[in-house]
Symmetry: C7
Subunit: 76 residues, 7 copies
């Protein structure tokens, strides 16, 4: 079985939409994807750092996240 889809299609379809990103250090952040590149560097808008339970720990606003720190990205 083959597919023409590629993993980065998920990022492309998520531009302008909210995603949850789990970082390698265990932190969860949430924000709206503005842009990304082939290294999975991502600019997020209205970014929030989340507590373990999902409540907001701090508001980070706009950030440029280095892709190498990402465990996974999930459409919120």
């Amino acid at each position: 079985m083959t597919t023409n889809e590629r993993p980065f299609d998920l990022l492309n379809k998520s531009i302008g939409k909210q995603v949850m990103i789990r970082l390698k250090n265990g932190t969860d952040i949430r924000g709206k994807i503005v842009s990304f590149d082939v290294h999975m560097n991502i600019v997020l808008d209205t970014t929030e750092e989340l507590e373990e339970g999902g409540s907001v720990r701090s508001r980070l606003g706009t950030i440029l996240l280095r892709g190498g720190n990402i465990l996974f990205v999930s459409p919120a």
Copy 2:
């Protein structure tokens, strides 16, 4: 003894099917492979994070997993 098979054939045959993925941090996740690329970045559907015993800890839905975090992938 030679073979024409390549490791990524296993991912290709698993598209649309459920796999279990053990991460380097020890976490097990389970989901259906939607797509993957040469870096082993994988999009999974109906993803679940598992407890040590195999029961579901949390439902993650669709995720884009960075390949560098993977220890191994196993057809479920």
Copy 3:
């Protein structure tokens, strides 16, 4: 939905302006971006290392920060 923006545009728009940078080791630093390159190496001016609460722990002046140490960059 597509966009012509790229993650590094955020750095380019921030030249001469103050940003907050969270490092992989958990430290937060603040300073004005002088220049950057494709590896996200960044020269910052009037750099300050911050305490957990956001107050200034030490003044570092001008620094050349290696990009590989960065978790994220945020316009202050």
Copy 4:
């Protein structure tokens, strides 16, 4: 003294045969090599995760192991 042998010859000669693989995280696994690539990504059949003493802790079946996690591979 020179030789025409190359390290990956050992993997090639082991296709269809059982090997023991020690991972960087200290885990030992055992299985039959189905295929491998230049990154030392390996597909194993009838894979078993071993206890410290060598007894079987769990059966993993077929897995695609990322080469970067390998400490060494040994014909069983």
Copy 5:
């Protein structure tokens, strides 16, 4: 706003001058830059390893520091 400056300009302007370098392992060292390359490998003269408070712990003389160990470089 654009600039023609590049991060490595800071190193170039610092040749023959004293800098403070914070390493990833938390150590601070101080010395005069003799030369550097694109990997940020740096030769330092009259190098000193510093205590947390800034006093000298040990004199290292001339060293070739591997760039990958650097957190940041700051003109002293």
Copy 6:
């Protein structure tokens, strides 16, 4: 002063001979070099894992060791 020798010459001269290899994780192993490649991947014969004091902890037989795990190689 210049030399025409290269570090890998030491490995080449050691083919068929016993070496001691210290791994990054602190383990010492001993064995006879069968082959190696540019990544310092090494096939060893009659490999032994050593205790801190130098006595044999376990016999590993033939192994393919990934070069990235090596701290240093020393002719025994």
Copy 7:
């Protein structure tokens, strides 16, 4: 201010001479440089592993040290 010197010149001038090398794991070793390559892989002669205070802990003889483990190299 510019210079024609390059960091690796220090290694080249040290061939046949004794150097002290601090490893990333905190260990200090001392030996005479036989050869090196662009990855900073270094062959050392009459190598000694040093105690914290500088006394000799063990004699390692000739070793091929992988460059990636090096923090800095200093002419002894």
